[in-house]
Subunit: 332 residues, 2 copies
DNA sequence: CTGAAAGCGCTAACAA
DNA sequence: TTGTTAGCGCTTTCAG
């Protein structure tokens, strides 16, 4: 056959109307057993596959969700993507994915594009957009789940309890009898470092421990950043007995710096990271870390979106806080 | 406004026909400067965004490419996805992504779905499908680029020169003066391990070196697999002076086994992996590895697909072999 | 239980 | 340079 066959061909072959074929497929209207069988045979014989686009034009539903992230190649987001995928694919939804490098223009462009493509929902990881951008570009017809603290928006949100994770890490060290605990945050105002810093400070305060200002420093979220900053820290006359680092890459840099300085981990220095990237379990010594559950976040985003997409439940914006958990390995 | 406005609204506002609006947007037909300006103003005032679905129904093009992989959370595929993204997004194409866990049924289901969604092209990483499946489900209207050795199909392919990479690794060790080189492949008939094994054997033969059968073993593609198999190897009376492992995870397991056995790397044992996962640069000692350029593979897939999608160049199936390269680090 | 007809929003002949 | 008309393939009133 030269062209893909349509519902019309099936109808002709089955000797019924296209309406009946449509309903035989969707089940949205009773069809007699006899015609149903005839139609099904005709479908099988013609190899008919409904054109999703035509259906979408009519129904205004595309069974498609957009996932907008800074960089799908950054190991955090693939886990999110998989979680989202697993939450929605059983309901027939597919994922349209876009990497924006965190650039505002790219984020806006991708948003506009997927809105014009009539996606049924959007999962947005953005640090550059605010609520006004969202209402302007997306409107209020397409549900959005934002997975970052997007200011001034009424859309659903999935957040991580960074402070709680940091507090757990801090208490873990205190329980080990270590009180001189330093913190390596990320660049000021960038990423989750300062929420984590706040949790660390809170846990120390709750334990009546006063941290040394000089033991609270900042590094880029990279191995190199961690290595150089912690290298300087360890070169001082005295250094803390433990370091909580704002992510695993910094923590791995800290391990390297300790090795270079001849400081034994965990005997002379304990190190904790955040994220639980694959490498965390593989470095030597294996890294104790606060798990940021990327997969679960993706799932949660999917579930919240499903709730909006399936029901007409037009309720107020919901907010979910995903819990973290501490994995203790050899570095503490 | 209550509903998203359509081309009709713009036309009414600009006092022209919808045809003219359409052409003012697409530029597929000359429009006088005056009306163009009027239309553009009307578009701006109404905030009109063309409905991509309606356009697609008419033009039979969706500007969408499907990427089908076993698991987007497996670190190899995000890099592929990003490469594909970067190759096609400037041409207006978006990526619809699906994880199949390598299961035949999931692969077929996803293929059917994206075909019914009229994607313009498909990038397929599959080890379970063959050419017949492809022609049956996809037909010959939608171009496919397969990134694995799918038997009996006429579609474009992107392959990796595994054997060449293994040969380069082998020569590197030989150049270091090491001749007792073992090989840890993956499970028989699973993944690229045996192509790599073949390259290793070829390079040894070319150098006139005869490998000891007992130094060629198999492990699962995991850290645990590598650790246990290499642990046994090192427990023997004599062991090889170098090991080439079919992937980085196995190689990292080998490093752990060596450490456990008190075998110094690289002094008493050199270790080479494949892939260059992030952890390869972070383990101690850092791992020498054969880079499998996932990003470039994705790009290449995108370019081959673009060639099929844009031109009607209906030529014979093309095949590209992506080169590998050796990164020498401390483990050799 | 079934069918006829309208129409989703756009583009592409064809006609002027 | 512009407009009229038909129709992409499906779903959904409305009518029987």
């Amino acid at each position: 056959m030269s062209r893909r066959c349509t519902i019309k061909d099936v109808a002709a072959r089955a000797g019924v109307s296209t309406t009946t074929v449509s309903h035989a497929i969707s089940g949205r209207r009773p069809v007699s057993a006899a015609t149903l069988a005839t139609v099904q045979r005709a479908i099988a014989e013609t190899g008919f596959r409904p054109a999703a686009i035509a259906r979408s034009l009519r129904t205004r539903r595309t069974e498609t969700v957009a996932l907008i992230v800074p960089d799908i190649a950054n190991p955090f987001y693939p886990a999110v993507a998989r979680g989202l995928h697993d939450a929605i694919s059983d309901h027939g939804y597919r994922t349209l994915i876009g990497s924006t490098d965190g650039e505002r223009q790219a984020e806006l462009g991708f948003l506009e594009d997927v809105v014009s493509r009539s996606v049924d929902g959007i999962v947005l990881f953005s640090f550059a957009l605010d609520g006004r951008d969202l209402t302007r570009v997306v409107g209020d017809r397409t549900p959005v789940v934002a997975a970052a603290d997007i200011a001034g928006t009424g859309c659903d949100r999935v957040l991580v309890d960074d402070a709680d994770g940091a507090a757990a890490a801090t208490r873990h060290l205190l329980d080990r009898g270590v009180t001189e605990i330093g913190f390596v945050s990320g660049p000021k105002g960038h990423g989750p470092g300062d929420h984590r810093l706040a949790g660390y400070l809170g846990a120390l305060a709750a334990a009546g421990v006063v941290p040394a200002e000089s033991n609270i420093v900042r590094a880029d979220y990279t191995v190199d950043g961690g290595r150089s900053v912690v290298g300087e820290l360890l070169a001082r006359r005295s250094h803390p007995r433990a370091l909580i680092c704002a992510n695993d890459l910094i923590a791995i840099g800290a391990l390297q710096a300790a090795r270079a300085a001849g400081v034994a981990v965990p005997d002379a220095l304990s190190v904790v990271g955040f994220d639980n990237i694959d490498a965390a379990a593989l470095v030597q010594p294996a890294l104790t870390t606060v798990v940021i559950p990327a997969y679960e976040m993706g799932q949660q985003c999917g579930q919240m979106l499903l709730a909006r997409m399936t029901s007409e439940a037009d309720g107020p914006a919901r907010q979910t806080v995903v819990p973290t958990r501490l994995i203790v390995r050899a570095s503490t």
